[in-house]
Amino acid sequence: MDLQTLIYLFVGVSFALYIVIAIWAKAASTKDFYVAGGGVHPVANGMATAADWMSAASFISLAGIIAYKGSDGGAYLMGWTGGYVLLALLLAPYLRKFGKFTVPDFVGDRYHSDIARTVAVIAVIFISFTYVAGQMRGVGIVFSRFLQVDVNTGVIIGMVIVFIYAVLGGMKGITYTQVAQYMVMIVAYLIPAIFLSLMVTDTFLPQLGIFGTTTFAFDDGVKTIPAGTFLMHALDQAVTDLGFNAYTMPGNIWNMFMLTVALMVGTAGLPHVIVRFFTVPRVRDARASAGWALFFIAILYTTIASVAAFSRVNIIDRVQNVPYKQWVTEGVKQADGRINHGGWFKTWEDGSLLAWNDRNKDGKIQYAAGKAFKDPKGKPHFDDHKRAPDGHRLTTNPLPPAGHKPFDNEVYIDRDIIVLANPEIANLPNWVIALIAAGGLAAALSTAAGLLLVISSSISHDLLGRVMFKDPATGKSKLSDRQELLAARISAIAAIVVAGYLGINPPGFVAQVVAFAFGLAAASFFPTIILGIFDKRMNKAGAIAGISTGLIFTFSYIVYFVFMGGDPKDYLFGVAPVGIGTIGMVLHFIVAFIISRMTAEPPAHIQEMVENIRIPRGAGEAHDH
């Protein structure tokens, strides 16, 4: 079967599976819609959480980011896994015992304040939309790269699929589709990674492959690195020869520290992750479930680090000094007789992820540090789809300044190419490529669905149910369960439409998702929930002051330095905007503590509630409204 047919087949079958699950898991009540009825098995919930968590960025981009950042990439690997330790130990069990449906629910009830609840709803919506727009864009990009459709058409197809299972099944539908999506993505990621590990180091497990030695000799452009060299030595040698920093050399320790804290704490404070722990039956299940989630995430994350290292070696081996025309058409033989065929390079030039600029006119590709194209980000500007006589795609950028050591770089390599093109670079069969397409879509759709659900439930449950239609006499919602379920479905539809729109016309803030989503979650939800559980004395005034300080400080800092042209020299304590959530969190803790100690302690029933949250027994009881 040809590649295109296989891709349609794999993507089609996986989509059909998600829809069948959605119909089987239709939500009948708001409890089904918000928390999947509260009866999800901890292992299933762990798997769903892992899929919910690992986005298109984890699946497609992260290996590439690490392949280029080297050692500093560890901030992302530790940051996006270490947060689960905080979730398991400090949040999940207590929030499960609290036993409501959403994060604003906790904030609003614990601090008995509709202002706090509303601020929480706004923060949830802003964080989740920033995040979801990137996912919708991710769906569009996968479609456009693998199925040759327009990015926008891809976004719309993604909207339709999410629409079917999120609107119909709510959290129940999403949970069970996420279980299926996790399996699709993990298989899609591991198969090429294992092949790659065998190819580069002759080791089966990629996690152990980095301890291996290279199976081939390769020319890094300056010298030949012999077969049998320790992989990491080969990598450090090759990249330093080409003018990059050594792969294993750490950069700025302080900024790596701040970024790691912001990512960990942000992870633990992200509403779409927290809400997953409301779906299990008991407190002990919430703890176990966080463990399972991290276990399933770790399988992929520990693979990512290895894939990054293999790919960097692989790219240098494949690309350095090959004659373009012969390489992409019939292939060339490496010095040791291995066949090296560059068909993939040509394919991905069409996807605008690769470009070659033959600056020294020798007809061969040279890869080194530095920009190959004159552009602020070194990106190629393609001359429509025109190609030169030797077949490479033409660009219109002026020539960048020459004279770099050891030679001028001629290739632009988008970081996403690392995962997307690995199967082709490693000569894997077509079905593996088709699997990557299905896996990338699974990663993007599972995260998008989780985020959309959080947005719709904060609107229907918190804003409509608990603020706008609150019965002042009883403090409960005036909406019946059926009315609220309908409201939840309508909010989900509205959220999908807005997310799709943002995916098609991504505003500038979407590119700053790491800074905004993680920074704001770290500066708002994480501290306020922790204080709500661990500090019985924390009161309404302290909480509101803390949240406002955290949000306003972090938001303004990011906006000033990213969008208003703030000079990096003026960074507070030298902290880059991606790590500023950490400072926001510290300020939140300090302000909340001081204000709460200056004002009256919280009423007796709230203090009782805190006592109650701390004891596991009794979480199984019904908690409907």
């Binding site: 330790v85 130990l89 301890f211 990491m232 520290f257 790691t260 703890r287």
Partner: protein
């Protein structure tokens, strides 16, 4: 449940959390960031130790920490008869 017992349970809970978080901090922020250069002096099969902690090792420790936490807390819950 008496107030005294509840307080004792909470104290034991907090102490377990603090011990586990200490390990969590040491492997990630300690080994993977603050002391990465020192640990990088040690190499196993070409892999620098600090680098390994930052990219893989700390993740394994995180998984083990949650596993220990779950077992530990279940025991404490039973000891104080607050399990479900």
């Amino acid at each position: 449940m008496t107030e005294e017992k509840a307080r004792a349970y909470w104290k034991e809970n907090i102490s377990a959390i603090l011990k586990l978080l200490t390990v969590w901090f040491i492997v990630s922020y300690g080994a993977g960031i603050l002391f990465i250069n020192q640990l990088n002096q040690i190499e196993i099969s070409g892999v620098k130790l600090g680098f390994w902690f930052a990219q893989q090792g700390s993740i394994y420790v995180f998984v083990i920490l949650i596993y220990i936490y779950v077992k530990w807390m279940n025991k404490i819950d039973e000891k104080y008869d607050v399990h479900e």
